[in-house]
């Protein structure tokens, strides 16, 4: 018995570098040899899907891209899936960025979805307004007067010459807002300064870490729903029935979580043995 206990104690005081190595291994192996676990959408994800599905065709949807390459694995699949869904239902998409690097991310998504997959026409089906500095001031600017903030689009084309921008003057001219966000400025600023004051419905795709922060807003009905991290993105991919990078990461994600839980259990076992022994002596 005490031999087994000693082994557990040894595991309990293991050098953390071994943990690092095991984590690296369990993430990389399923990436190379995927299993394909089934994906079951949660309610918060379904709510986002349903509210976009409910929009009448040709609605004006504002898509705000506010993440950088560092959280691309989580946010980018959401942006792609949402764009696919919007274009499939023939909505008009307006894209803005609150983060400077968001512009690169949005450009990537547009190239992939709007240009290659759906062959949409720029200026008729979608507009890329781009980044403006000023954090929450940009949100407020869009709410009060979009045309003052954006005189030209990303490609330096005059807004007045873009047919889709006809009749779009401020935030109230949109029917829906989706913010793909990784922090400040992002979802919370959109809730505080845009959606709350105007009552335009919004949903958001956030990194896992932000879920807890935005959940009270969802619960209070200030947002219709939220896509939570990479699993949220995978669920959305399942809902629109187009698999992407989030789905392929889910195996690695599942295994890694299980391994961490295993670590926690082992840690607790050795903790108990230690505590019992110190009580005895």
């Amino acid at each position: 018995m005490s031999k087994i206990q000693d082994t557990f104690l040894k595991i309990g005081s293991i050098d953390r570098r071994w943990i690092f190595l095991i984590i690296a291994a369990v993430v990389i192996v399923p990436l190379i040899f995927p299993v394909g676990l089934p994906i079951r959408p949660t309610d918060t994800t379904k709510n986002v899907y349903d509210s976009i599905e409910k929009l009448p065709a040709g609605s004006n949807v504002l898509l705000s891209v506010e993440y950088s390459p560092s959280t691309r694995p989580e946010n980018h699949p959401m942006t792609i899936s949402i764009l696919r869904h919007l274009f499939k239902n023939n909505h008009k998409v307006f894209i803005t960025c609150l983060w400077p690097d968001g512009q690169f991310m949005a450009q990537d998504a547009i190239n992939q979805v709007a240009k290659q997959e759906f062959n949409k026409t720029y200026g008729v089906d979608y507009v890329f307004l781009g980044f403006r500095p000023g954090n929450e001031a940009v949100v407020k600017g869009i709410v009060s007067n979009l045309r003052k903030l954006y005189t030209v689009d990303v490609y330096q084309k005059k807004i007045d010459e873009i047919p889709l921008m006809n009749g779009i003057n401020n935030f109230k001219d949109f029917d829906f807002l989706f913010s793909s966000s990784a922090g400040f400025p992002g979802t919370i600023e959109w809730v505080q300064y845009a959606s709350d004051p105007t009552g335009i419905p919004m949903a958001s795709g956030v990194t896992s870490i932000q879920v807890n922060e935005v959940m009270p807003y969802v619960q209070a009905g200030q947002m219709v729903g939220v896509l939570a991290g990479m699993p949220g993105a995978a669920e959305y991919e399942a809902l629109i029935d187009q698999k992407g990078s989030a789905t392929s990461g889910m195996d690695a994600q599942s295994v890694a979580h299980l391994v961490i839980v295993l670590f926690i259990i082992l840690g607790n076992v050795s903790f108990f043995i230690e505590r019992n022994r110190s009580k005895k002596y």
Binding site: R16, S70, G183, D196, P197, I209, Q210, E213
Partner: protein, 265 residues
């Protein structure tokens, strides 16, 4: 209508603000005139002085991180204020203080705060501008830099007070691996759990804003905390009251929808 310069739909908010503001002011005045209040102890704040003492014994520096955001965040300002108090202690105990910052305006403000503290404690000779130094504006480059400082200088105590994002865990885990006493204070909701698990003491949300009152012991600040508590009681009362009204409104149909009142555009 009659008030061309006023947003009428925000009038509820204006009244709320006025009421809350006057509650605060009332308590501040009351405290200034000598009224005494009880403040429950916050272990994390007691630990600040212990940590400074321990650093002195070990002859190692103290690392203070005032968050990674600029002075336009209230948390950062609060962090700089707490830094002022910590600097007073380091001046008293003659411990060296290291404050890497990630925003230049914060650098300026933190220097002013430290300089003043060292002056007040009568140790301007110990103050050195470069104890507050800039690394970079970038979140992760800053984290990498602070990491480097931690592993190489091995501070005896690390304090993180301000607005934090993902780098919080990098800092706290590295601090843990070098065996430093760690005290954190933040209102960044997503980061509180990491600080709670990896640091010795954590000031959670509102506790962090009350820190400067606790540390300075100035009556007007303590009065402010007391005022905040009164507002909190009012908030709880409002919650309960609105629940009762809502329940009556829905079930018996009395004609008053409180959720309308609480909706501010």
């Amino acid at each position: 209508m009659g008030h061309p310069y006023l947003y009428e739909d925000r009038i509820v908010m204006l009244i709320t603000m006025f009421l809350m503001g006057s509650t605060l002011m009332y308590n501040v005045r009351y405290a200034q005139m000598g009224g005494e209040f009880y403040l429950r102890p916050i272990p994390g704040l007691k630990a600040v002085e212990e940590a400074v003492g321990r650093s002195t014994e070990m002859g190692r520096p103290i690392l203070y991180v005032p968050g990674i955001q600029d002075m336009d965040q209230v948390e950062t300002v609060a962090g700089v204020i707490v830094l002022g108090h910590v600097a007073k202690m380091t001046a008293r105990y003659e411990t060296s203080l290291n404050v890497p910052v990630s925003r230049s305006i914060v650098m300026k403000a933190a220097r002013e705060a430290c300089r003043e503290s060292y002056m007040i404690e009568g140790r301007p000779d110990m103050f050195n501008e470069d104890m507050v130094h800039y690394l970079t504006d970038d979140q992760f480059a800053y984290a990498a830099g602070v990491n480097g400082i931690m592993v190489r200088e091995k501070p005896a105590a690390c304090m993180y007070m301000g607005k934090f994002y993902a780098e919080s865990l990098i800092l706290a885990e590295t601090g843990n691996s070098i065996g430093a006493i760690q005290i954190a204070g933040t209102a960044s909701q997503a980061q509180i759990p990491f600080f709670v698990t990896a640091c010795d003491y954590t000031l959670i949300g509102e506790e962090f804003f009350a820190a400067s009152a606790y540390l300075s012991k100035k009556p007007e600040l303590i009065g402010g905390v007391r005022g905040q508590d009164m507002i909190k009681a009012a908030v709880i009362a409002t919650i309960i009251f609105s629940i009762i009204i809502m329940t009556l409104y829905d079930n018996t149909g009395i004609g008053f929808d409180v959720s309308q009142l609480l909706t501010i555009r």
